[in-house]
């Protein structure tokens, strides 16, 4: 505490820790900050949906069936007279939580597998790599379709289906990181100075794997959201009365001639959300990269 204060006063050059340097670079990336702001707003809107949404999502407005956008219903109403804006806000709960939960599952499976394969090597590594070869050679959409038929319809099944192959990317990433870090000079130096294996794993290998994993998670969340939207679009993802953006696009795609608002608004929200997450992921990647100067 005192040392940082004294250096701040004494030295004209500010010393920044890795975390501070990361935050400095990230804060000065305007696009990433806007994306982060948008995502936070969207999450807040989803969490406080009952307060934010103008109407309850299932409230039927008999006086306004199939209504185009009006002053009362900013994004119009659907076939049952339900407010589209409210349904999009509530649908955000499903879309965002599928993305976050599926990604969490994938990290929980992929991180240990990648770390174990990379650390131990030998036949364990070989076995995991062949398993990954097999799983990654089946087209993932086909596997999702089959999984969704096997599992009961619902929220949990989507997360399971997305996690069956989703962990592969993270496992590969962590394994590669661990393998290359194991060969670095500072790990060899640590070992030479007598650091025990646990210290090397925790302080050197895992800590240095953290930033690529964080970038991969940030980019994986929109990936999972897109997969959920795709499945719901095909009619085998989220089932009514729950709504998700992909489901709304799929459900009303036949009415695009007359009621374009039912398809176009969820499509726009989905696309802008994807854009925000990908921009945030790119921003994180740049901020973690010390070779990029601000």
């Amino acid at each position: 505490m005192t040392t940082t204060e004294t250096t701040a006063i004494a030295a004209p050059f500010k010393h920044r820790s890795v975390g501070q340097a990361f935050w400095f670079r990230f804060r000065h990336n305007r696009r990433a900050m806007i994306a982060l702001g948008f995502i936070i707003l969207e999450i807040l809107a989803a969490v406080f949906a009952p307060v934010v949404a103008p109407y309850p999502p299932d409230k039927i407005h008999y006086e306004a069936l199939w209504s185009l956008p009006t002053k009362d219903h900013w994004m119009g109403t659907d076939d049952l007279g339900r407010d589209v804006l409210s349904r999009i806000i509530y649908g955000g709960r499903v879309s965002i939580s599928v993305g976050v939960l599926a990604q969490t599952m994938q990290v929980l499976i992929g991180l240990p597998i990648g770390a174990i394969a990379g650390l131990l090597g030998g036949w364990i590594d070989y076995a995991f790599m062949r398993l990954i070869d097999i799983l990654s050679s089946v087209p993932s959409l086909l596997l999702y379709l089959l999984m969704m038929l096997v599992l009961p319809r619902g929220f949990g099944s989507i997360i399971i289906a997305l996690s069956v192959t989703g962990w592969i990317g993270i496992a590969r990433l962590v394994r590669g990181q661990v393998l290359s870090l194991k060969a670095t000079d500072y790990v060899r130096a640590a070992r030479g100075m007598g650091a025990n294996t646990r210290h090397i794993i925790v302080a050197h290998l895992l800590r240095n794997t953290l930033s690529p994993v964080m970038v991969s998670v940030t980019l994986g969340i929109p990936g999972a959201m897109m997969a959920e939207a795709g499945l719901s679009f095909l009619g085998i993802g989220i089932s009514p009365p729950m709504s998700s953006w992909g489901q709304m696009i799929g459900l009303y795609q036949a009415y695009i001639q007359t009621s374009w608002h039912l398809t176009v608004f969820p499509a726009l929200v989905l696309s802008v959300t994807m854009l925000a997450w990908f921009t945030l992921g790119d921003g994180l990647r740049d901020a973690f990269d010390p070779s990029i100067q601000v």
């Binding site: 070989y126 062949r130 070869d133 097999i134 050679s137 089946v138 087209p139 959409l141 086909l142 379709l145 089959l146 999984m147 038929l149 096997v150 929109p222 897109m226 939207a229 795709g230 679009f233 095909l234 696009i249 799929g250 795609q253 695009i256 001639q257 374009w260 398809t263 176009v264 499509a267 989905l270 696309s271 994807m274 854009l275 990908f278």
Partner: protein
């Protein structure tokens, strides 16, 4: 090299076997048999004895492992049995009927996205930090963030519904190119993204290489440097993404084929899954997997031949 090819080939066979086992048992884990849908949907209920007879006919009364073994033996001879749904028709026949549509769309998509993706990537890499670079990055960002089915629906709305320029959906083969435009355009988002990014980073890497500077320093013309030194070296890795991309394109996209009502293999597989047409699902899964794995296999070998630095021999 020979040892590497043998090892990779063994791996290929292993993957195909494993995928066939995986799909076979996953499919049979799906609740409900193939004849349940029939009895439930048609007004006249099929008597249970008849269902039993049908199950015996298709070998569904045997234990799963025996069924798998019988399937595998027949499949090696190219016989995938009869479809459960389209009665009297073999799976091979049905695949032959629907696949050409997917190949057609896939090849057109490949041609279109190669031109667009390569052009955008090259132009972006040659003008770093200027507007072609931002334009290329913008297009690839668009391709990444807008799901193909969303894009397809929006295009349908704008060009078919609003402007009435193009047909909403349908397929009239080679004779009617106006039916191609929207499906091919929507199908190209993914490939354009991949090709643009690969090309841009490959060329940007090569442009910084010492031999390019040497070539310029010894007074070689800009055209020669670009064509011989930059493109030839940069596009080799790009060719290797093209293989697996082609494989996945010609097997058809479920989304595009469903939205534009193209009777291709992607659409038919999706329909077959909801009809629980086991033999057809198995055959198309294996077809997709085999095509993709074989192209990876071939790509690896080509890559090893093209790039002497790739030392595959040391790998196990």
């Amino acid at each position: 090299m020979f040892r590497f090819i043998i090892m990779r080939f063994g791996g290929l066979i292993g993957v195909l076997l494993a995928v066939s086992i995986l799909t076979f048992f996953l499919m049979h884990a799906v609740p409900g048999g193939p004849f349940d849908a029939m009895t439930a949907s048609t007004a006249q209920m099929i008597p249970l004895e008849l269902v039993r007879d049908l199950e015996v006919k298709y070998g569904l009364d045997k234990p799963l492992w025996t069924q798998y073994w019988l399937f595998l033996r027949a499949a090696l001879r190219g016989d995938f049995g009869y479809s459960f749904y389209a009665s009297g028709r073999t799976v091979t026949e049905l695949v032959q009927q629907h696949w050409p549509y997917s190949i057609h769309v896939g090849l057109l998509t490949l041609a279109f996205s190669s031109v667009v993706g390569l052009a955008l990537g090259i132009v972006a890499a040659m003008n770093p930090g200027r507007w072609p670079d931002y334009f290329g990055t913008g297009v690839s960002l668009f391709c990444m963030t807008v799901p193909s089915f969303v894009f397809a629906k929006l295009m349908q709305y704008i060009f078919s519904v609003r402007l009435g320029l193009l047909p909403t959906s349908g397929w009239e083969g080679w004779a009617e190119p106006k039916y191609w435009i929207l499906p091919v355009l929507s199908n190209s988002l993914g490939p354009v993204l991949t090709l643009q990014r690969y090309t841009r980073s490959a060329i940007a890497d090569v442009m910084r290489a010492n031999y390019v500077r040497t070539a310029r320093a010894k007074g070689l013309g800009e055209a020669k440097v670009t064509l011989i030194h930059i493109f030839k070296n940069a596009l080799t890795p790009v060719v290797t993404v093209a293989g697996p991309m082609t494989a996945s394109l010609i097997t058809g996209s479920i989304f595009i084929e469903s939205i534009f009502r193209i009777p291709g293999l992607g659409w038919y597989t999706n329909v077959s899954i909801s009809r629980r047409d086991y033999p057809l699902i198995l055959a198309s899964t294996l077809l997709w997997t085999a095509l993709i794995s074989v192209t990876y296999f071939v790509t690896d070998i080509i890559y090893a031949l093209l790039d002497p630095r790739v030392a595959y021999m040391k790998e196990r």
